[in-house]
Symmetry: C2
Subunit: 232 residues, 2 copies
DNA sequence: AGCGCAGTGTAGCGCAGGTTACAGACGGTT
DNA sequence: AACCGTCTGTAACCTGCGCTACACTGCGCT
C-alpha cells in the first residue's frame, strides 16, 4: 500500500483525509496521473451510489466505509449480492468498463463511505502498462467470482435461520452487538421483516441472543456459529 | 480467432480435429508456445472434469462441447452455477491460478467435450506479455461475474416453473426439442425430479409442451418465454 | 418373449417461509 | 406529558416445493 493524499474534486460531501490505495508497485508516472485524475466522492450511510442500468465509466475504489451491491425483486424486496469494504475495488465497474455494459445492480453505502473513481480511459491505459493494475483487476474480479459462487451456494443449501446466524456473526461489532433494524436485515437476506422477527424471537427464546430496538446482542456465539454449518 | 491444429497429449479419448481458439492478436512466438504446451483432453458427455477441492494449475479453454459447473447440496442434490460453451475459457481455473485457491465447485462435461489446458506458468507469462491474453482473462472473468449475478438474481426472484421455462428455452435444439431426462433437468435447477415432473405435467396439460421419454417438445414457446419474465 | 433398468406419472404429506393484519413498545419532538 | 413515527412482537393463513411412495411405460438385452 502506498499513501496518497488525493484532493476531492466533486465530492458529495467533503472528505479531506489521507487513505490507503491498493496500488503498490505502481510506477511514479502512473501514480501521479492517478493522483491528478482520481475523483473522490463521499456518501452518507444509506445513500445510493449507483442505480441499476446506470452507465459506469471507471474503476471504483472503496477508500473508506462499505458498499452493498444488491438487486430488487419484483415484490420490491431487496437481496444483497455482495459487499465491498475499504481497500477493495468495485469490479463491476471495471467490468462494464471493458465490456461496455450497463450496471446490472444497485449499490448503496452501508456506512459512511468514500469512493475514488479512476476514469475509464485512464484505467484502460494503466491496465496495459502497469502490472500492478493488471494484478488488481484480476484479483478483484476473481474475488468477486468466489464471493458470488459462495453466496449462490449458500442460497441453495442453507435455510434462512442459518443464513441469518451467519449474517449476525458477520455484522457484530467487538462487543457482539449488531446495530441494524430487523427490516434492514431482512432486506439483506432477501426475506421479509416478519420472518426475520420470527426467527430472532426463536433464537432469543433459546437464550442465544437478546433483541432490542435497532440492536441485537449475541449471547451464545458458539451456537450461532454452529447453526451456519449445513445441517447444524 | 486463429486456427490451431494442436496434437492431443494425454487425451481421455482421441480427438484429432482442428478447432478455433480465442487467441486472436497473439504474437507468433506466443502462438508457437501455446501450440507446443497446450494439453488437450476429451471427455464424454456426463464425465467428471474437475472435482471440488482439486488444485487447478492452468487455464481451461473449452474447444468443443459444453461444461457444467455446479455445487452439491448437503442433501446430495446438485445445483448448476453456470455453463461454459465452446470458445469460452474456464475462469475459475485462471482464478485459482492467480489466487492460488482450490477449485470451489464440481465440473462435468455436459456434451462430448474437448478441453485445452494452458499450463499455469505459461499462462502467467503470456498474461504479462500478451495483450490478447489480458483481454481474454478480463473478459472471461467479467462474463462469469455477470452470469453469476444473473443466476443469483433469478434464484431470488423467480419461481421454479419460471426458471424451468427459461431452462427449456435455453436448451432446446433447432426443432424446439430438449433431449434431457427430467432428473437431469431437476439437478440443473437444484430441485428434485418429482417437482420438475409436476410442473412439466402442468405445462403439458395446458398444451405448452409435449413430454416423452428423455425428450420434451416445446409447442408454445411464446407462452414459455412469457413465463420467464417476473410476474409472468 | 420376457426380464429388468431407466425414466415418467401422480398423489399426499409436511415444512420453510412469504403475506396479512394488528398490537404494542421505544424514543425523539414540541 | 402528549404525540407520532419507527420499530418490534405475534398469530393465522397460504403457497411453493421438497420428500416419500408406488404404479406404469418405453427400451435394450439375453
Amino acid at each position: 500500500m502506498i499513501r496518497l493524499a488525493v484532493p476531492a474534486r466533486r465530492a458529495v460531501r467533503r472528505a479531506g483525509f489521507t487513505v490507503d490505495l491498493p496500488l503498490t508497485r505502481l510506477s511514479e508516472a502512473a501514480r501521479l496521473r492517478v493522483e491528478q485524475q482520481l475523483q473522490r466522492y463521499a456518501f452518507r450511510a444509506g445513500a445510493p451510489v449507483v442505480h441499476r442500468g446506470q452507465t459506469v465509466n471507471g474503476a471504483y475504489l472503496v477508500l473508506k466505509g462499505r458498499l452493498r451491491v444488491y438487486t430488487v425483486k419484483p415484490s420490491g424486496a431487496e437481496a444483497t449480492l455482495y459487499h465491498l469494504t475499504a481497500g477493495e475495488t468495485c469490479i463491476l465497474a471495471i467490468n462494464a468498463l471493458f465490456n461496455d455494459l450497463l450496471y446490472p445492480a444497485w449499490v448503496e453505502a452501508e456506512a459512511d463511505t468514500v469512493v475514488g473513481i479512476i476514469p475509464g480511459g485512464l484505467y484502460r491505459n494503466l491496465f496495459q502498462a502497469e502490472e500492478a493494475i493488471q494484478d488488481l483487476t484480476v484479483k478483484s474480479l476473481s474475488t468477486l467470482v468466489f464471493r458470488l459462487m459462495d453466496e449462490l451456494e449458500q442460497v441453495h443449501s442453507l435455510r434462512l435461520d442459518q443464513r441469518l446466524s451467519a449474517h449476525l456473526l458477520e455484522r457484530a461489532n467487538g462487543q457482539g452487538v449488531v446495530t441494524e433494524t430487523q427490516a434492514r436485515i431482512a432486506g439483506q437476506l432477501g426475506s421479509s421483516r416478519e420472518v426475520v422477527a420470527r426467527i430472532l424471537a426463536d433464537m432469543a427464546s433459546r437464550g442465544w441472543i437478546e433483541t432490542g430496538r435497532g440492536r441485537i446482542r449475541l449471547v451464545d456465539t458458539t451456537r450461532l456459529a454452529q447453526m451456519t454449518r449445513p445441517g447444524g
